[in-house]
């Protein structure tokens, strides 16, 4: 991918950072965790990324979770992204430890004790295996593909520092959940294979994210689903995630040329696809 393509994106990110150190989804709006983490990874090593990390730490709650934005009082799936950023930065102090602990204890409601017990005694037949443990967008709800994929990346990266059975066990159950959510066409959508017995199609963006989450899982065919997606025919967001995923697996992707859009999260992901995608690298190819 050309330097001018990357430079245009990095330049756009540098000039749209909010005074608080974060990034909005669109310039001039409030800072959010998600674009802030992606922009900080894209600008890793620059003072702008340091300011972003400082802001994100101020959003960590007593539970160890991070809030999605300054004024949103809620524990967020984005905690996984903050762990990934912490590992990229070599920050293994208290925010990292508490964030990992929160990830380890957080799971979707579909695998909680009530659901498992009801399933075990035959009160209902769940559409997915309740013994597996994915991650929700927020506590108290079900687990879904995107937060599960990001949590797997975070815990796999964290396992370099924390080689305990809690971490490896949770990675195993999270991967099992992700594989259990796979659509009949071989890819992934947001996290439902079927509704009323009818198969649902996969999406390119969530298939790419699942691929990233399943790095080094030992499952041989996960790359096939992403390979058969025509990267040039999908939406810009899907293209950005596919570029990151395929490059993590050593697959070359076409060099894009389009100018940056006003969407700053997309801008950051497109920049990551050029260079710093390695911060999502969790191990050998599947």
């Amino acid at each position: 991918m050309g330097d001018s393509y990357l430079d245009a994106r990095l330049h756009a990110l540098r000039r749209t950072q909010n005074p608080d150190g974060g990034w909005p989804y669109f310039a001039g709006k409030q800072s959010w965790l998600e674009p802030t983490v992606y922009a900080a990874l894209a600008l890793h090593g620059e003072p702008a990324a340091d300011r972003a990390w400082k802001l994100l730490q101020s959003w960590q709650t007593r539970s160890g979770a991070f809030r999605p934005a300054a004024d949103v009082q809620m524990e967020s799936w984005g905690t996984a992204l903050c762990i990934t950023l912490a590992v990229a930065r070599g920050e293994f102090g208290d925010p990292f430890e508490r964030g990992v602990e929160w990830l380890l204890k957080t799971e979707g409601e579909d695998s909680n004790l009530l659901t498992r017990a009801a399933s075990a005694v035959g009160l209902f037949k769940p559409d997915r295996n309740p013994r597996y443990h994915g991650w929700p967008w927020k506590p108290g709800t079900s687990s879904w593909v995107e937060p599960t994929a990001h949590a797997l990346v975070a815990l796999k990266l964290a396992s370099a520092k924390r080689q305990d059975r809690d971490v490896t066990g949770r990675i195993r159950l999270g991967q099992a959940e992700l594989l259990d959510l796979r659509a009949s066409d071989g890819g992934w959508n947001y996290g439902n294979r079927t509704v009323w017995g009818v198969d649902l199609p996969s999406y390119p963006e969530t298939t790419a994210l699942a691929l990233i989450g399943l790095q080094a899982s030992g499952v041989k065919d996960v790359l096939d689903a992403a390979r058969k997606i025509g990267i040039e025919r999908v939406s810009p967001l899907a293209r950005a995630w596919l570029a990151i995923a395929l490059r993590l697996y050593g697959v070359a992707t076409p060099a894009p040329t389009a100018p940056p859009t006003p969407d700053l999260m997309l801008t950051a992901l497109e920049a990551l696809g050029c260079a710093n995608y390695r911060y999502f690298k969790t191990g050998g190819e599947a």
Partner: protein, 321 residues
């Protein structure tokens, strides 16, 4: 879209708790509302003069949007070229022109799809970006807008919503007339699921499923009560809606300020008994009117446009006699 597995814990919690803690919004059931007016306008295809049809309906209903900040909320969910999931671009474009013509101070189009994160790409596929002039400048992705809390939403102490929606003087639900495999039908009120921000609650907005779909539909209409509805029933969806159903031409636009009345009227047009839909039972006399005798029908009669929508097996007994 959620599956039975997602509904189980919700249903279990619902059985345990019932609706004991449910306060029913700001309007008590005892405070019976007056009558409502709903306009049914025939439109056989999207190439007809929809602007004139909408202006006729708005005149009959005496809506005056002059000086108001208007948010047009279409139903933009997924894209499948083989069916008709979304509010047709012709309806959105016509509504935009109508509210500008009637003197609204600002008209914004906003949506927060429940499954797909790339809202602009969806808008492209649904031809919104190509056929609505300066669409990007007029559109807000409600999934990634700034947010503010609203105190009290079902049993939650607070719920966050896009500031674009909270600041609007009038939200126009540009819904699609569709069957829905959990709620029975998705019309003006269910369309407000797209006002819930994905950047807080995720994709899908699973918080609403855990609160309960029917209760969430009710609560959203309670919070966003400054609303008006224009339902795209020119070609609706029957069967396994809201995404995997089949196109169903009904040839109507249905309009009104009382959203429960609009939804109840749409149900009757679709051959669905509105009394079987839990969210309409909750809304009846709290948020609006659903009894046919208390809805003054403008334009066409229900009988003249009724066309039964196919219902999937769990909803077959919802058929209107």
């Amino acid at each position: 879209m959620i599956s039975r597995r997602d509904l189980f814990p919700v249903a279990a919690a619902g059985m345990l708790a019932g609706y004991a803690g449910f306060k029913g919004g700001t309007a008590g059931r005892s405070a019976r509302l007056g009558n409502a007016s709903v306009a049914i306008l025939k439109a056989a295809s999207y190439s007809e003069d929809l602007v004139s049809r909408m202006l006729q309906g708005i005149r009959e209903l005496k809506l005056n949007p002059r000086g108001l900040k208007v948010l047009l909320k279409p139903n933009l969910v997924e894209f499948d070229p083989h069916t008709c999931i979304n509010t047709d671009v012709a309806v959105v474009a016509a509504a935009y022109e109508v509210f500008k013509t009637l003197g609204a101070s600002e008209v914004i189009i906003g949506e927060g799809p429940g499954h797909r994160r790339d809202t602009c790409a969806l808008a492209e596929m649904a031809r919104y970006r190509g056929e609505i002039e300066q669409f990007d400048a007029r559109f807000v992705d409600l999934n990634r807008d700034d947010v503010s809390p609203v105190i009290g939403f079902a049993d939650r102490p607070e719920m966050y919503f896009p500031t674009t929606a909270l600041r609007a003087d009038l939200i126009v639900s540009l819904a699609k007339m569709k069957t829905h495999h959990w709620a029975g039908a998705t019309l003006a009120m269910k369309n407000f699921f797209g006002l819930v921000p994905g950047n807080v609650y995720g994709w899908p907005k699973n918080e609403l499923h855990h609160i309960g779909i029917d209760r969430s539909i009710f609560e959203l209409s309670r919070v966003f009560h400054h609303s008006f509805a224009i339902i795209d029933g020119i070609v609706g969806m029957e069967g396994n809606g809201p995404i995997q159903g089949s196109p169903k031409p009904a040839g109507v636009l249905v309009m009104g300020s009382d959203l429960p009345a609009v939804d109840a009227t749409c149900c009757r047009i679709m051959g669905i008994d509105p009394g079987r839909l839990e969210y309409l039972r909750l809304a009846s006399d709290r948020l609006g009117v659903t009894e046919e005798a208390r809805i003054e029908q403008r334009g066409e009669t229900i009988r003249s446009v009724r066309t039964n929508f196919n219902l999937i097996q769990p909803f077959e007994n919802y058929r209107l006699a």
